[in-house]
Each structure stands twice: as structure tokens, then as C-alpha cells.
Amino acid sequence: MDVIASVFQEILGLEPQEITDDLAYETCDRWDSLKHLEIVSALESRFGIAVEIDDILAMESVGRTREIIRTYGVL
């Protein structure tokens, strides 16, 4: 499991096999706006980056989050 997936797993409290690229804000009950903020904060501190607001809003699934973090050149 990569860092992105482990951040989601830890913060959402899900089983490793539940963390797929398709896991999405819209459909995952545990992923609410407070958790989203925690996920962003965790990614920012793990990678030493500051995520832009537009990117925070676009991180609507695990897969999309990985693509976005990649644009920061840290993956």
C-alpha cells in the first residue's frame, strides 16, 4: 500500500482492501468534510507541500487524489 492509500486507510478507519482508487467522497459514508480536511492536512505534512484550494476540491476519490499529489512532483 502506498502512502496515499495508507493516509486514507488511517483517517477513514477502513480495511486495507477497501481502499481502492474508486473510493469516493460521494459514496463513502465515513468521508465527510471534517475527514477531508484531515486527509489534506496529513498529505501536506507527509509530503511537505501546501495543496491549492482548487486541488483540495478536486480530490474527490483516492485515484484522483493520487493524480493531484503527483502534480506536486513528490510521488
Binding site: G13, S33, L37, L57
Partner: protein, 490 residues
């Protein structure tokens, strides 16, 4: 009067009732959908039957809730963020006869032995008879049940009448001078009394409720401008996130008339920051509770400097006092409890006459909040008298978190206290003594997972601290002030 008539009677059918996510929805479309729901509900269910609504902010939520109340049934507004077992318990406890649920939330109900109506089912309802022919329920009949925050069993169902909701809506409209040109940015959920008041007040004046994108509050910065919102209602956490995590104040919002804050005390520095950063925009400090349909007091924006830190005085139609234990008004500077009287005060807690009798006494609602009052009658809430934790606008008792933690057989003693948090106001910190010292980190991990599974996100401990012993009071209870001091240490 019936709530549905009050909210929708005589509106301009072409005007936008709802805008933002999901696209514009006119009053004509809303009224038609409400009439269909009311007709079906009145045909299938008896007056006074409870019918639950489980949905995020949407036209579906609004039409379900108003349609149910319009048919003389009681709309039980559930929190989509609540754990599944909490929802199941609430549906059972109120004796719901059916559930209106968004398709995307259907999974939260699991196997359920009740009629379920989703968006598709509602869209397929036959065209309605004239609204007036199905209308039931008015004035002191129950219209809505809202739940106070907390976990299973602890969340009380607050029973509100048509009169309660109409009275509070009219009071808020009066002091905020709301009109048909107002467009609210609805960041707070409609199942929450404060969020519901935003929906009700704007519909009642023929205004518009804008649904912003919800995943991250930062969307509000754009959505306020895109949808030309005239007001924003938030809890302290809303503004903490906007001020600390977005460039909220770097933008100009030409249509914004006011922002309002309730649901906990906002630090004065943050109020000042908002006022300085949003020139020409009024900042309302307000106070209320679910038991009062939402609102009890407001501080007029013009008095923000003169009465800094005050929650103001009673809203129109509400008498608000600070009294001693015998119900006599305290003198300026003395501490007492806030009590309220008005048409907005609830019927009572559903199915819980004892709890109702504790808070509705001698014609007053006893809020449980302690406060002082100044020479001019302005009220200042005091720091916590009891142990209630206020996090992200929600209130809950630490016991509710402790009960979940204590369900793990590896925990010998546990105490949860609130500690200051820059974004959420307060966050819970859990102190626990393991049965065996060697349990260590594995136990902390297990408790963390248990909390994630059983508690809504705002109740989950921000930190879990393992200790060999906890500071105790002489009577053998956890010494909460000492623990609160410990919680401030990293």
C-alpha cells in the same frame, strides 16, 4: 397555520427557490413536488405518523420534509453523517412509518422493514390534487423531530410544532431583514436546527437557498461569488476553516450583506478578523438551541464593539433571562442560567417526559447554559459549567465517547475531556488506563478504530493518551479540570 402553507403559499412560481449544486429549482417545481408528496403521504399514513428523512441538503430534502409536514405527519430529520446503528435506533425509537431517503444514502438503512421513498419513487408520484384538499396539521400539532447531537440513546428527539417553526422563522426574518432578493449560502446541514432555519427563512420570504459544493468549505469562496449570495450562516468552525485554510478574505463579495455565527462561542479575535476583512458586511453573533427551534438571541451588528463577546438579547418574540436556581433574575455581573420563553420553544423531548420536565419548568425553557448579564440586559455566555464538549458546532457529553471506549475489555479507566482546537473550537481527548500496561500502542490503535467505527467524526478523539493512572477527585471520579490541563500539553 400549516408549515407548508407558510413556507410556500403565494410564491412566484418562476422564482428560484434552490440554486447551486443540482442546478436551479423554481418555487413552482418545489410546490408541485411538495403537493405530490403530501397527497401520497396523506393517502397512506395517518395524521401524526412519523416519517423519516435521510438526505443531504437538496431539493429532495426540502420537498420531502415540507411535504410530510404538509400532510399532517411528523418529519423526522436524520443526520446522514450519523453511524448506521444510531440511525436505526432513531428510526425505531420514534416509531417511523416510512423513510424518504436519497438513493446514495440508501445503504445506510441496511435491511429495513418500512416503505422507502427515494428520488425516483418521488418523481413517479402521480400529479397531486389541489394542495388544500390534502392539508392536515396546524399550530400546536407536531411537525418535525430534530435530534440533538450525541451518540446512540443520548440523542434526544426534539419535537417541534408548526407554530414553533413558524414563530422562529418570522423572528429571524424580522431581525435579519430578509427579503425575496436574499440568497443564502447553505453550508450547514438542514437536519441541524440552525441549517434548517436558513432553509425556512429564505423560503418564507421567497428568497433563494444556494447549495454550495460540500467536500471542502473552500468551495464557498467561489460559490459565494458565482451565485451572488447575500448571506452566509456558519458555526465557529466554518469561519475558522475559511480564515485559516482558505484565502476567504482575499476576495470581494459584492452581494454579501451579512455573515452570521451561532453554535458556540467564536473567539473575539476571529470576529474582529471577519469584520475587518469584510468591510460593509454585517457580522451577527447569535445563540440558540434545537429545543428553541433554532434561535434565541442575536447581537445587532452595530453593537459588535460596544458589546463584544455578548450573544445579545432575545430575538423578537422571545423573552430571554439569566436567573438563579429559584428562577429569579440575577443582578448584573452575577452568574445564572439562561432561560427562555416564546412560541419557538419545543413541545418537548419525544417520548421522554422526565427529560422534558427537567428543561421545561414554570413556563420557561432552561437551557443549561450559564451566563452573566450586564447593566443594559446584554447576555454573556460563560465558559463551560458542565462537561459538555462543543466540537465543530455539535455538542455532546464526554460520557458518550467514554461509553464506547469502555466497551473494549482492555480499558480499565477512561475519561474524555475537551481541549481547544483552532479549527473545531474543541476536540475530545481520551485518557485511558489499560488493564495491562503491556497493551500499549496496540490498545490505542484498537480504540482509535473503534471510535472511527462507532462515533461520528466530530466525536472521535483527536488524541488517545495512555497513562498508568488518572488524576481523581476525592470522591473517586476522574478529575476533569486536571485532565483538561493535561490535555493542553503536547
Amino acid at each position: 397555520m400549516n408549515l407548508a402553507d407558510f413556507l410556500l403559499g403565494g410564491r412566484d412560481a418562476m422564482a428560484r427557490a434552490i440554486d447551486g449544486v443540482g442546478g436551479p429549482v423554481t418555487y413552482g417545481v418545489i410546490a408541485d413536488a411538495v403537493a405530490r408528496v403530501s397527497t401520497m403521504v396523506a393517502g397512506r399514513f395517518a395524521e401524526g405518523d412519523r416519517i423519516a428523512v435521510l438526505a443531504t441538503n437538496s431539493a429532495f430534502f426540502a420537498t420531502s420534509y415540507i411535504g410530510i409536514a404538509g400532510a399532517g405527519c411528523v418529519a423526522v430529520l436524520l443526520d446522514r453523517g450519523a453511524p448506521d446503528d444510531v440511525l436505526a435506533e432513531q428510526i425505531r425509537r420514534v416509531g417511523a412509518r416510512a423513510v424518504f431517503v436519497q438513493e446514495k444514502a440508501r445503504g445506510k438503512l441496511g435491511k429495513i422493514d418500512l416503505p422507502v421513498f427515494d428520488e425516483t419513487a418521488c418523481a413517479g408520484l402521480p400529479a397531486a390534487a389541489a394542495m388544500a384538499s390534502v392539508r392536515r396539521g396546524e399550530d400546536d400539532d407536531p411537525a418535525v423531530i430534530l435530534f440533538t447531537s450525541g451518540s446512540t440513546g443520548q440523542r434526544k428527539g426534539v419535537l417541534l410544532s408548526h407554530r414553533n417553526l413558524i414563530a422562529n422563522t418570522l423572528s429571524i426574518i424580522a431581525y435579519q431583514e430578509l427579503r425575496a432578493t436574499d440568497r443564502a449560502c447553505a453550508v450547514l446541514p438542514f437536519h441541524y436546527s440552525y441549517g434548517l432555519s436558513v432553509l425556512n427563512t429564505h423560503l418564507a420570504v421567497g428568497g433563494t437557498v444556494v447549495l454550495p459544493r460540500t467536500m471542502f468549505l473552500g468551495a464557498v469562496v467561489q460559490d459565494l461569488k458565482t451565485h451572488r449570495c447575500t448571506n452566509l450562516a456558519g458555526v465557529p468552525t466554518t469561519y475558522a476553516i475559511l480564515l485559516r485554510k482558505t484565502d476567504f478574505l482575499a476576495h470581494r463579495y459584492p452581494d454579501l450583506r451579512f455573515v452570521s455565527q451561532a453554535g458556540g462561542r467564536m473567539p473575539p479575535e476571529m470576529v474582529d478578523e471577519l469584520r475587518r476583512g469584510l468591510p460593509g458586511v454585517d457580522v451577527y453573533a447569535m445563540y440558540g438551541q434545537t429545543e428553541a427551534s433554532a434561535r434565541l438571541s442575536y447581537l445587532p451588528p452595530a453593537l459588535a464593539d460596544a458589546k463584544q463577546g455578548s450573544i445579545g438579547q432575545g430575538i423578537p418574540g422571545v423573552e430571554l433571562r439569566v436567573v438563579d436556581e429559584d428562577g429569579n433574575p440575577v443582578r448584573p455581573g452575577e452568574t445564572g442560567e439562561v432561560v427562555a420563553k416564546g412560541d419557538n420553544v419545543m413541545i418537548g423531548y419525544d417520548g421522554d417526559p422526565e427529560a422534558t420536565a427537567r428543561v421545561l419548568r414554570g413556563g420557561w425553557l432552561w437551557t443549561g447554559d450559564s451566563a452573566t448579564v450586564d447593566e443594559d440586559g446584554f447576555i454573556y455566555l460563560q465558559a463551560r459549567r458542565n462537561d459538555v464538549i462543543k466540537s465543530a458546532g455539535y455538542r455532546f457529553h464526554p460520557q458518550e465517547v467514554e461509553d464506547i471506549i469502555m466497551s473494549d475489555p482492555g480499558v480499565a479507566v477512561c475519561a474524555v475531556v475537551g481541549t481547544d482546537d483552532p479549527l473545531r473550537g474543541e476536540v475530545p481527548v481520551a485518557f485511558l488506563v489499560p488493564v495491562d500496561r503491556s497493551f500499549g500502542a496496540a490498545l490505542a490503535g484498537r480504540i482509535g478504530a473503534l471510535a472511527q467505527q462507532r462515533l461520528p467524526s466530530y466525536m472521535q478523539p483527536a488524541r488517545i493518551v495512555l497513562r498508568d493512572a488518572l488524576p481523581m477527585t476525592p470522591t473517586g471520579k476522574p478529575d476533569r479540570p486536571a485532565l483538561r490541563a493535561l490535555a493542553t500539553q503536547p
